[in-house]
Every structure is written in structure tokens, then in C-alpha cells.
């Protein structure tokens, strides 16, 4: 089956010749019309549209956006905050970058609609420190929007007021985790908070009810406020509505970003047709489908079971290439859609080297609050690094797995899972390669073999 056409909703104007990030260009292209329409409606109506749309968060967890908003403690009498997660720190993910740099007003409009719908008077955009230009672009965009009365006091004469400020991070991955992000915004170390009781919807920023949403999620909200929740829910597949932006990197001919209706394209179509297949003379070996924390998948694997199709249960028997790229299908085969970052490795890669690279990342980024995560991520790095640069032993795979198995489920935040899933899945699927590594190391290195750690 040929791959479907891209459906660019969020990335409609990305890389369009002549499209610039200023407000004039945005308004020329119909910008802020949805906000004008939205502020004439009842806020609850917009929340309902988002609920109906079935929109799931694009930051990683895929939590339904409308449900998240309805969990807000609206009776506390405290102000409600919106925090926009523009930390984009999950390795393999690079979609928010292009929205921020090329179409910032799309995000600002999404933010303002979200704020209006939830009676938010103050929003912060938490942007990773490594996007200095992105931060300047957003600040300029906010000033432009304010000057035209789309943000700030008495928006469009409605009596409703809301400010947006940009807040820069400083190079720590854990700031992407929503409660770590909140701590960071409060001026502290980004130590994630334990849930319960610290659900942002109840006890978030400054212990006030807080919505944390990803950049892309809020752009979808703008689109939903335009076309309606019902129409949005018809895009994609049931329970996986709207479009998804896939960020493909690594060993394919055409890496990049591609937006498709969710679940309408398979992994095989995406990698072989859209991305042009493997590099010359190479074969695909493994793929991480949803950011580096997602469990690795192996080419040649088959997946069988029963799945829901509408109201019925049907059998499925998929090669890896047949798997539809949606939240539920990827979860069914034991991985996740996560942030949409698809990292591809071909047969030139030794999986021990690749895991050692990933483990170095997690050891560097653990915040250190929980012993299993702090110590475990460090030991996984040390062991895999020793395998690559020192002595490797046939039992190292088992040792790595035993460390990983003691982390997940015993930590404050989901980083614990994020750092153990790579090791667990690499060993499960490529265990032989770990056992054979001591021998493989004795072979002379092929010319052109890349160092990965």
C-alpha cells in the first residue's frame, strides 16, 4: 500500500517560501481569527470542544487534553496558571523547534484560546535554554500580539486580560517533566514533585491549579477551536485523533519532520517510502519510535494479538513495518508513541554501543533525588561504557538488566521508567549481541565504524 499524503495542519506553513514569523504575515494568513471567534463564546464551550475532539497530549504521555483541563481545581479561589512546555528535550524530538522559530503566533493564539477557556490570567512559556533565538522570537511575537490587543489587558475589548511571559531553562532534561518544570519556574532545582499530592491541576505553580501542555498540543487546540471538536475527531483514527508530527532521525535517506493523520500511516510506509528507506547498501536493524525513552523495536519482529476495531475485537498479525503509528498500536506492541521522535538504526550499528550512548544521556540527566534512579542510571552508564571502552563480559547484559529492573516503579517521576526501558528492551531484543560483544570486540573494526560513546 502506498503511503497516504501528508496532512499538514500544525506544520501548514513550516518551510513555506516567504512565510515569516511576524504578526503581519500571520494575520495575512488568517491568524487570530480563531481567537476573535473564541472570545465571543462561553469558555466552557471551548473546553467541551477540546473534550469532544479526543485530543491527546503531544508532549509524551498522550494524556487526553480535555480531561486534563477538567481536573483543574476551579473552586480553590486561587489563580489558575498555564505553563507551556517548550522544553523539547526528549532525544529524537524536534517539532516544537520549528513551530517556535517559524510560526510563533500559531502557538500564541493557541495559548490565548486555552487561557480564555480556562480562565487563566497568567501564562508562562518554559523554553529550553538552548533555544536562545527561539526565546527572542517568542518575546517579539508576544509584544506584537499585545500591541494588537490579542494578549495583555482587556483582550479585544472583552474585559478579559491575560499576560504571557517567556521563561528560559538552562540545559537540564528533567525540566521537561511537568513538576520539575514547575519547580524550575519557581527558581529552584528542577526536582520533580511526588504525585499525589502534587498534581499540577490542583497544586501546581506556586501551589495553585496549573495546566501544563506541550507546544504542539496547544497548536492543536487552536485548530479545534476553529473547526470544532467533532470535525477534529474525524481526523486520524478513533482514540488517536488529529495529526501527528513524526520527527525521523538517524539512518534513513530523508530524515526530517512529517505530519500525517494519526494511525493512517504504518512504520514501514513512513520509513521506506516517506523517508526513502535505508542508506545505500544498508538494512534497517532497529527503531525507537517515540523518543529515546521508548522501548526499542527490532526489524524482523512479529506482533500478534487481539485489538479493538470499533466495537469489535479483531486479530492482528503484524510485521514491524505493518504497525500503524498511533499511541494505542505502539503501546500494544510494547513501546510508545511518546513525543513522536523516531530514531532509526541500520545494520552498521552495534546495539551495545547505541545503548551506551543512551545510558550516558540518562546518567547525565537524572536529578538525583531518588536512589534507584541516581545510582541505577549511573551504574548502567558505567557498565555499558566499560563494555565499550574497557573489558566486556558475556554476563554484562544480565547485569545491566538487573540494575534496570530495580529502578522502574520505585521513583518519584517517570524518568525512572524512561531510563530503564532502553536497557530492558535492548537486552530483551538484542541479548545475543550483548553476549557476543566480548568476541565482537576482538575482531578488527570495519572501516568507517562510528564511535557512539
Amino acid at each position: 500500500m502506498p503511503a497516504p499524503e501528508q496532512r499538514r495542519i500544525i506544520f501548514k506553513h513550516i518551510d513555506e517560501p516567504g512565510y515569516t514569523p511576524d504578526i503581519d504575515c500571520y494575520v495575512r494568513n488568517g491568524g487570530y481569527e480563531v481567537l476573535k471567534k473564541s472570545v465571543q463564546r462561553k469558555p466552557e464551550e471551548i473546553v467541551d470542544e477540546v473534550k469532544k475532539s479526543g485530543l491527546r497530549g503531544r508532549g509524551g504521555a498522550g494524556f487526553p487534553c480535555g480531561v486534563k483541563w477538567s481536573l483543574l481545581d476551579r473552586k480553590s479561589g486561587k489563580p489558575i496558571y498555564l505553563v507551556v512546555n517548550a522544553d523539547e528535550s526528549e532525544p529524537g524530538t524536534f517539532k516544537d523547534r520549528y513551530i517556535i522559530h517559524q510560526d510563533p503566533h500559531q502557538l500564541i493564539e493557541g495559548i490565548m484560546i486555552t487561557c480564555f477557556a480556562n480562565n487563566v490570567k497568567q501564562a508562562y512559556i518554559y523554553i529550553r535554554g538552548e533555544f536562545p533565538e527561539g526565546a527572542r522570537i517568542l518575546e517579539r511575537a508576544i509584544a506584537e500580539a499585545r500591541a494588537r490587543n490579542f494578549a495583555g489587558p482587556n483582550i479585544l475589548g472583552t474585559g478579559y486580560s491575560c499576560e504571557i511571559y517567556v521563561h528560559r531553562g538552562a540545559g537540564a532534561y528533567i525540566c521537561g517533566e511537568e513538576t520539575g518544570l514547575i519547580e524550575s519556574l519557581e527558581g529552584k532545582r528542577p526536582y520533580p514533585r511526588i504525585k499525589p499530592p502534587y498534581f499540577p491541576a490542583v497544586l501546581g505553580l506556586y501551589m495553585c491549579p496549573t495546566i501544563v501542555n506541550n507546544v504542539e498540543t496547544l497548536c492543536h487546540v487552536k485548530y479545534i477551536a476553529d473547526v470544532g471538536g467533532q470535525a477534529f475527531s474525524q481526523i486520524g483514527t478513533p482514540n488517536n485523533t488529529g495529526t501527528r508530527i513524526f520527527c525521523v532521525s538517524g539512518h534513513v535517506k530523508r530524515p526530517g519532520y512529517y505530519e500525517f493523520e494519526t494511525g493512517k500511516i504504518t512504520l514501514g510506509q513512513l520509513l521506506n517510502e516517506v523517508c526513502g528507506g535505508p542508506l545505500p547498501g544498508r538494512k534497517f536493524k532497529a527503531v525507537i519510535p517515540g523518543g529515546s525513552s521508548a522501548k526499542v523495536l527490532k526489524f524482523g519482529e512479529r506482533f500478534k494479538g487481539k485489538r479493538k476495531a470499533g466495537a469489535e475485537m479483531v486479530d492482528y498479525d503484524w510485521a514491524l513495518e505493518d504497525v500503524p503509528m498511533d499511541f494505542d498500536s505502539l503501546a500494544m506492541i510494547g513501546s510508545m508513541g511518546g513525543s513522536g521522535g523516531v530514531i532509526v538504526m541500520d545494520d552498521s550499528v552495534n546495539m551495545v554501543d547505541a545503548l551506551a550512548n543512551i545510558n550516558a544521556f540518562y546518567a547525565h540527566e537524572s536529578c538525583g533525588q531518588c536512589t534507584p534512579c541516581r545510582e541505577g542510571s549511573l551504574w548502567m552508564k558505567k557498565i555499558s561504557n566499560r563494555m565499550v571502552h574497557g573489558d566486556a563480559r558475556t554476563e554484562d547484559g544480565a547485569l545491566l538488566k538487573s540494575v534496570a529492573d530495580q529502578i522502574a516503579g520505585r521513583t518519584i517521576c517517570a524518568f525512572g521508567e524512561a531510563c530503564s526501558w532502553p536497557t530492558q528492551s535492548f537486552i530483551q531484543k538484542f541479548g545475543d549481541e550483548f553476549k557476543a560483544y566480548p568476541d565482537a570486540k576482538k575482531q578488527p573494526k570495519r572501516d568507517g565504524t562510528l564511535e557512539l560513546v
Binding site: E88, S89, E90, P91, G92, T93, F94, D96, R97, R128, G129, E130, F131, P132, E133, Y165, H167, R168, G169, A170, G171, A172, Y173, S184, L185, E186, G187, K188, R189, P190, Y206, C247, V248, S249, G250, H251, P255, G256, Y257, S292, G341, I343, M345, V349, A354, N357, I358, A360, F361, H364, E365, L450, E451, L452, V453
Partner: protein, 163 residues
């Protein structure tokens, strides 16, 4: 504190963005680092006083976040992405090339004072790997040849400034 007048003005302004002063710790540290090049012990004490905090509250932030530094670096800051997608496309080689060009190792000032080279984690541009940031500017698909070009540009600029 020895900072440019506009830095002081921006410090005063940014504090007003938050209901608590403490939230302004990161913005203040960014502003000071951009102006002074690094964050000295006296700068930390100054920030603490400015925001009515204990010095430890600032110190613990500076020591946690990788982007804050307590010592000066070379005139240009070269950050090479180390994470998987970049490594798969040759990021480690790119880094070696920069080290060779400037005759230096990681995390130190090169002998000519021109650069500090650092390995950093994923810069969210994995589709154009390997990527490198030189100060605030992102460079994409930086193979060894492009690394040499960038190095040559930096050196030319340095010569220009001397002459």
C-alpha cells in the same frame, strides 16, 4: 556588581514577571552570564540579596543547571551534540575535528583563548544531525569538512579583531 546599564534595567524588568522574587533566579543568572561571561561567587551573592534569598538558594541552582558556569570560557562557545541521533551521523568525529582544529580538549579554553568546546545532550535538531551550536547559532549537518569551515571562520574573525 559590574554590569552594563541595560543589563540592570532588564533585571529590574524581569523581576516583575513573577508573583515571587525567587522565580527570577534563572532569568537573572542568564542575564548576568550573558553580560559577564560567567557567574562569579560575588554575582551569586548579589542575586541572593537582590531576590531576598539565602546565597545557598542561588548556589544550588547554579551548580545544578549545565548551562551556568562559574569560570570564564573561550571567546566562542562550541557545543557539539553528543546524543544518539547525532552520534549515529558522526557527532563524535565532528567533535574530534573541532578539538584538533583548536588544539584543545573538552571543557577547557583553547591555547589561543579563542574557544571552549563542550559536548552537550540533544539539541532538538536531530533531523539535521550532527548539529553544533556556536554561541547562540545552530549549525546543521556538521560533518568534518563543515567543522573545519566553521573553525576557519572563527579563526578569521579572531585575526580580524587582532589586526
Amino acid at each position: 556588581m559590574d554590569l552594563k546599564p541595560e543589563t540592570f534595567a532588564r533585571i529590574e524588568e524581569v523581576i516583575t514577571h513573577y508573583p515571587t522574587k525567587r522565580s527570577a533566579v534563572l532569568p537573572l543568572l542568564h542575564l548576568i552570564q550573558e553580560d559577564a561571561g560567567y557567574i562569579s561567587d560575588s554575582a551569586m551573592e548579589w542575586v541572593a540579596q537582590k531576590l531576598e534569598l539565602q546565597p545557598i538558594n542561588v548556589y544550588e541552582v547554579v551548580t545544578f543547571y549545565p548551562m551556568f558556569r562559574r569560570k570564564p570560557i573561550g571567546r566562542r562557545h562550541i557545543k557539539v551534540c553528543r546524543t544518539l541521533s547525532c552520534a549515529l551521523m558522526g557527532g563524535y568525529r565532528t567533535c574530534e575535528e573541532f578539538k584538533k582544529e583548536f588544539n584543545t580538549g573538552l571543557n577547557q579554553i583553547s591555547p589561543d583563548g579563542e574557544v571552549t568546546i563542550e559536548f552537550v545532550e540533544c539539541l532538538a535538531s536531530c533531523g539535521t544531525a550532527p548539529v553544533v551550536m556556536v554561541d547562540d547559532v545552530l549549525h546543521e549537518k556538521v560533518d568534518c569538512a563543515k567543522a573545519r569551515e566553521i573553525a576557519a571562520q572563527i579563526k578569521r574573525k579572531a585575526e580580524g579583531q587582532k589586526g
